[in-house]
């Protein structure tokens, strides 16, 4: 039976997902921000939205059940 550890799986998932977005971006005629500070802001957003979030979710999910994890995942304060 196949197995990929949680962080590795998250890394592969979002790496391949970002490749799809790159293709979509090029096809749609979008470009990277030309200001360095904009790029840094977006990269920092990526660290919060993708790295931190997925690291917490994937490791958390591997330690508890899907049902319980999905309840806690949605305990977000917004």
């Amino acid at each position: 039976m196949g197995y990929v550890p949680p962080l590795m799986l998250a890394g592969w998932r979002f790496s391949l997902g970002s490749v799809l977005f790159l293709v979509f971006m090029k096809l749609g005629g979008h470009s990277f921000p030309n200001k360095g500070c904009r790029l840094i802001k977006l990269a920092l957003l990526g660290l919060v939205q993708t790295t931190l979030l997925q690291a917490f979710f994937f490791i958390g999910l591997s330690l508890t059940s899907v049902g319980k994890a999905s309840v806690f995942m949605n305990s977000q304060p917004l």
Binding site: L7, F32, F57, V66, N74, Q76, P77
Partner: protein, 153 residues
Amino acid sequence: MVFATELISFNVSDLLGALLTSLGALSWSVATLWAKNLMKEDSLITVNTVQMLAGAVPLVALGYAFEGMERVVITGQVFYLLAFLVVVCTFLPYLLWYKVLHANPAAIISSFNFLAVIFGIVLGILVLGEPLAPVLFVGAAFVSLGIYFVNRS
């Protein structure tokens, strides 16, 4: 509600999992508000591409550093499930999420995230054969009511 079930079947691993997923939820909220602000200057596709690219690289590095390749067992099923995860669970939902976030108030659309609770519980039972805890369904009912009231207001 969920902590009530934790007390019935107390387990340190479960509690640590709950703590980590809650921290993930906090990251999600911070990122949602921040992304909404950043999308005023860049297109949603650009925001999505850059943030995902920048976020994925450290995840791969962390995976290699802490988990190592020796535990990885690649089979045809892994390949198929990864492709599903990438296209159906990553590319399409992120694209839709940012599109909806761009056009609507963050608090309103975030309330729909709570539907994941219901899907998570039902699929956990149906697909993974997880134990049926009636108290989780009571919690899911409250979640549904919450979505109703947020959208009504």
